[in-house]
Amino acid sequence: MSQDTLLASLEVMHRIRETEETISRLRLSEDIVGSVHLCNGQEAIYTGAVRALDLGRDAVFPTYRGHGWAIACGVPPEAVLAELLGRASGISGGRGGSAYFTAPGYGMYGENSIVGAGAPIACGAALAGRFDGSGRVALASFGEGAMNQGAVHEAMNFAAAMTLPVIFLVENNTYSELTPTRDVVRNDQFFRRASAYGMAGVRFDGNDPDAVRDAVADAVERCRNGAGPVLLEAMTQRIVGHYIGDVQHYRPAGELDAAIAAEPIARAERMARAAGVGDTELAALRQRVVDEVDRAAQAALSAPLADPATVEEHVYA
C-alpha cells in the first residue's frame, strides 16, 4: 500500500471523525436534538469499502449509524450537519435527520432506522442492475446484531438463490445497542453463517482500511463476475456510546481503552509514522480537515431552517 493511499484514507477517516465530533458537540449544545448514533471507531470500514466501489453505479445501503458512510461516499460534511440541524440545505432537507437521510446523488441510498430492513432493499437494487445493464453491485451494511433479524436472513437467501450482486457487510462492533451480541447468539463468528446460504463468508480487521478495501474489492469482483453475493464481517469497536449520552456502563473494564488503542485513526497514524510521515505533516493533515469541518458547521448553522410550509410535498408523485 502506498503512502498516498494511507494518507488519503487517513484524510477520509479524519473527515468522518471530525464530523462526528462536531455533531456530538452540537448535540450537547442542543443545536442538534434527538437520538444520534455516532460511528467513531468504525471509520475504516466506510473508508476502505468505498475505495473498492464504483459509486457511479454501485449503491450503498447503511443503517442509522450512517454519517460515516455518507462522508466516505463524498457527501459534504456541511450537507450532513445541515441535515441534523434541520436546515433546508440538509442532504434530505431535514426529512431524514441523523438516522434516516439519503444521498442518492452520492451512491448512498439511504440510512435505515429499522434494523435489517436495508438488506432486502439492497437485493432489489442488485436485481434492477440485472436489467439495466449497469453492472451495479449493491452493498448492504449493518451491525452484527442485525444478523438475528428475519429480513436479513431472507435477503441473504434471496440474493444467493438469485445470484444477485450483493455484498452483505457486517460491521461487527460486538454490541447490539447496550447488549453484548455474544450473549444473544451461540456463535458470534457471523461470517460462518454465509455457508447456510451457499455464500462465501470472510472476516477481517475492520479497523484497517486496506483490509476492508481488499475484502470488498474481492467481493465486488465476485459480484461483477456473476458469482453472486458475499458476506463480509468487519471486526471493529465503537469507541463511543450507542447513542450520545450512553455512558456505556455495560462495557467491561479495559475494553474501551483497548478499543481506543486499536481504533483506525490512531492505527493509521502509527502506520504513517512507521512509513516515515512526520508528526507535523500528520497534524497538518488533521488540522486541514478540522478547519474544513468547522467551516462546514458554521455554514450549516447559518443556513435557513427547512420550511414547514413544505412538509406535505413529495408524499405522492
Partner: protein
Amino acid sequence: MPEIIEKTLSYAESVNAALSRALEERPETLLFGEDVAIPGGVFGVTKGLRRKFGERVFDTPISESAILGGAVGSAMFGRRPIVEIMWADFALVAFDQIVNQAANVRYVSRGALAAPLTVRTQQGNAPGACAQHSQSLEALFAHIPGIRVCMPTTNQDAYDLLLSAIWSDDPTIVIENRTLYHGAKQPVRIGGPVQAVGGVGLRRSGSDLTVVTWGAMQHRVLAAAERAAAEGIDAEVIDARWIRPLDLDSILASVQRTGRLLVVHEAHTTGGVGAEVVSRVVESGVQLTSPPVRIGALETRIPAAVQLAARVLPGDEDILGAIRRVAHDVPAGRVEAMPAGAR
C-alpha cells in the same frame, strides 16, 4: 397504447391481461412472488407470463420481506416491480417494508427517489378458509400516507385498476379477492388509455339512501338493494374501489341527494375503513335524515366452518336489514348487537 378491444374474460383473466399489457408496454416492469412464474400462480392468475416475458417474471422463496424489499429496492432503481403477496394476511410478516420503507422513499428523498411498485394481493373469506386466511385488512394499508390502496371487484376494474396501480409512480396495493378469480366471464375493454388513480364506481343509482361498499361484499349489497327495491326502497350503491385516495366528493354528492348513509364492508367494523367514510361524511356537515350505519364482520375471529363464517360476515339479510333501518330510521340492528366487551 394498444387499441381498445373487448374480450370476454374472467376476473383472473382480466388481471392476467393487465399484467401482460404492462409487461409488454413497459419494459421496466418485473413480476415476482411465490409460485407466480413457472407455476403461473396458485390461482392461475399469472399463467403464461413467464413463458412470454422470460426472466422479468420469476419465482421467489417464501420470503415476504425479501419480496417486498426487493420491490422497494428495484423500484428505487428504475424498475416497476409488480409483486404478489399470496394472501393479505401474509403481508403482516413483512409489513415493515410497506409502512416503514416503501411509504417513505419519495418523501425522505424529496422526490429524488420513488417507489413505483405494485403489490398484488387478495383477501377475504372463502368457504372453509381459516382465520389466518380470511381477514380483510384494507384498513391497515389505508392508514398509511404514501401508500395507495384499491380493491377491484368487477372484471373490468380488475383490469383497469391494476393498470392504474402499475402506471402510478407511488407504491400501490391492489387487493383482489380469490372468490372472484374464476367467476363469470364478462366483456372487458382491453387497451386504451390507463386511468389515473382514484374515483368510485356507481353500481346502482337510487334516491333513498347511499350505500358505500367495496370488495366482493358488493355483490351481496347489490342483491340486497334489489330486494329492497321490491319493498320500495331505492338504494344508490357506490363502489369506493379506491380506498386511498378516497373519492369523498362523489360519496358526498350522493349522500347530499339521499340524506342517508350505509357503509358495508367485509372487514371488521371496529377500525375499518367504514369509520373513515362515516367520519368524512359527517364532518362535511351534510345533513343526514337518519344516523349513518356501518355493517362489517362481527368483532370475532373468523372461523373456518362455512355456517360459522357466514354468521360473522355481513350476510344478505344483515345488509337488507341495515338498508331498511337506514331508510326507515329503525333504531335496531346488528351494530348494537355487538357484545360490549368486543367493542
